[in-house]
């Protein structure tokens, strides 16, 4: 009797872990694969399974005349995302590098402030930023979006760089300067290479998030200059345009690329 019960417990455990686990895994990745398959749909309506495979939505998406609004929106978004990456890199990388070297007492008080945007709802921040920037005479504009994105996404790079900076050995820098290297040379040859993977990984994360952000862009963006996510969501709400699927296909490709880069850099891939 006891034997039967223990066998039952082993069998039920294995079934739960393997069948349940693989089922959840399938449900997690399924929607992404489905979006990818839909982008090659040959039919005019979005139904699953698709009616035949074709590249018609990608062709329509790339057509300069038919998809002009999407192209403009994408260009605007890429401009903001690139500017955000530059601004975030310039202010964040030195800060993360510096805070890895100072006494815990100081960095311990500053770090929570610098990481706070990660948990704050970005919609609440967007509203606050719109109020504050309007007071400064800076209504919805390119600059306002840039500032908003930088404030919200800087922590992503701060964390990737801080992790590497904390692990790099300050003794190497001392050795370098003892051996007669200038500060600039020490920085370029010793310090920078140590944190560069963090900067690259952070830059990609910031770029993708900026491209994808809705809340901040919605409040701070110039209404005359649509941005990609807003354009796409408008298309998604109005009609199930197949081009949304094609854009999704490209964005999935970008995410997969980002994943490969993060893994190659061996950054802190278990805590992105």
């Amino acid at each position: 009797m006891a034997d039967v019960r223990s066998r039952l417990s082993v069998v039920s455990y294995r079934a739960f872990v393997w069948v349940g686990g693989l089922a959840v895994l399938a449900c997690m990745i399924g929607p992404i694969l489905l979006a990818l398959v839909m982008s090659f749909n040959a039919g005019a309506t979005l139904a699953f399974p698709p009616q035949g495979l074709s590249l018609r939505w990608y062709r329509l998406l790339l057509d300069p005349v038919a998809s002009e609004p999407i192209h403009t929106a994408a260009r605007n978004s890429v401009e903001v995302a690139l500017a955000t990456v530059v601004l975030v890199t310039v202010i964040t990388a030195p800060a993360a590098f510096a805070l890895a070297r100072v006494p815990r007492r100081f960095s311990g008080t500053v770090e929570p402030v610098l990481l706070a945007p990660l948990v704050l709802p970005s919609l609440v921040y967007a509203l606050a930023a719109l109020l504050a920037l309007s007071l400064l005479g800076l209504g919805p504009s390119f600059l306002a979006v840039l500032i908003g994105h930088a404030a919200v996404f800087a922590p992503l790079m701060f964390r990737t760089v801080l992790g590497l900076a904390q692990r790099s050995d300050p003794a190497l820098e001392e050795a370098s300067s003892t051996l007669g290297a200038s500060r600039a040379r020490t920085f370029l040859r010793i310090s920078l290479p140590a944190i560069l993977p963090g900067i690259v990984a952070g830059a990609f994360l910031v770029f993708m998030q900026s491209l994808d952000n809705v809340s901040v862009t919605l409040f701070l963006g110039d209404p005359g200059r649509t941005m990609l996510p807003l354009r796409l969501f408008a298309m998604l709400e109005e009609s199930l345009d197949g081009r949304v699927a094609a854009v999704s296909g490209l964005l999935i490709l970008a995410a997969a690329l980002l994943l490969v880069i993060l893994q190659r850099l061996g950054g802190r891939k278990d805590t992105p």
Partner: protein, 276 residues
């Protein structure tokens, strides 16, 4: 050397104080601004005394709780599979966790619009199985929204737990099995306690993210299911009620903040209780 190094941190600290902290303080200030020009908690009182608004607040918190519950339910077998898996299976699970997380919001929402739609796989397979006699749509229903949010937020719970499992001590499980515990008991008495702090940390992220995901809520939930983020957006974008919008934002922040603080303290407490 130290002084010069902190100097490099000041641009970012200054930027965040000026463009992140002070806007939030300003928001708090404006939420206390009354319609008559005076100061006080009038906006909060007005919001909380209106049954519809109160319903939106409790509905939003309930949505967060439901999503957190179902995320935990879905995470359990996958976390156990991760624990038992070899390096190759673990790598596969990690990729399948990270890819949806890194994928743009519009892609995930688009996928769910298709899945939940009238011609989507759920409706079609129910039809094929004879469980329903005509196609149906789960779009604009709370059930559909919860399904979508569970898939979207699941990685936020999984990643902290995986990080702990990577470091977990395998000998505790062996010890439990040697002492005669069956597999269920061995897992829940030896491994589960080790991941509790990570689970609580994951809950914080899932809850915060589910209650404030404006886009998914409005596209999948539709116009009839109203949650706090849409309410805030309506007050500003349509009605231009700045002080009211500020007050609702502060309420959203405070209520999720209190729950997050509670969970964080619980996590600290568990850790103190000693698996260190």
């Amino acid at each position: 050397m130290i002084r010069r190094d902190t100097l490099m941190a000041w641009p970012m600290i200054g930027f965040m104080l000026l463009f992140f902290i002070s806007p939030l303080l300003l928001l708090l200030g404006i939420s206390l601004r009354g319609a008559d020009g005076g100061w006080g908690f009038g906006n909060f009182a007005a919001f909380l005394s209106d049954p519809f608004s109160r319903g939106v607040l409790t509905g939003t918190l309930a949505l967060g709780a439901k999503v957190t519950f179902f995320v935990s339910l879905a995470a359990l077998p996958l976390v156990m599979l991760y624990w038992h898996g070899g390096p190759r299976l673990r790598g596969l699970i990690l990729i399948c966790t990270l890819l949806p997380m890194l994928t743009a919001n519009v892609v995930r929402t688009f996928a769910w619009v298709v899945i939940l739609g009238r011609n989507g796989p759920i409706s079609q397979s129910m039809l094929a199985l004879g469980l329903t006699d005509r196609p149906f749509s789960l779009l604009f229903s709370e059930m559909g929204l919860i399904m979508a949010l569970v898939q979207i937020e699941l990685p936020l719970l999984l990643l902290p737990v995986f990080a702990v499992l990577n470091r977990a001590d395998r000998r505790t499980l062996e010890a439990a099995e040697t002492l005669g515990a069956g597999p269920w008991r061995a897992w829940f008495s030896a491994i589960f306690p080790q991941i509790i702090p990570a689970v609580l940390a994951g809950w914080v992220l899932v809850f915060a993210s589910a209650t404030t995901s404006y886009v998914t809520q409005s596209v999948i939930g539709g116009a009839r299911l109203i949650y706090l983020p849409q309410y805030v957006y309506r007050e500003v974008g349509v009605l231009f009620q700045w002080p009211m919008a500020a007050a609702i934002s502060i309420l959203l922040l405070a209520s999720t903040g209190i729950i997050m603080l509670g969970l964080t303290m619980l996590a600290r407490h568990e850790r103190l209780q000693g698996h260190g």
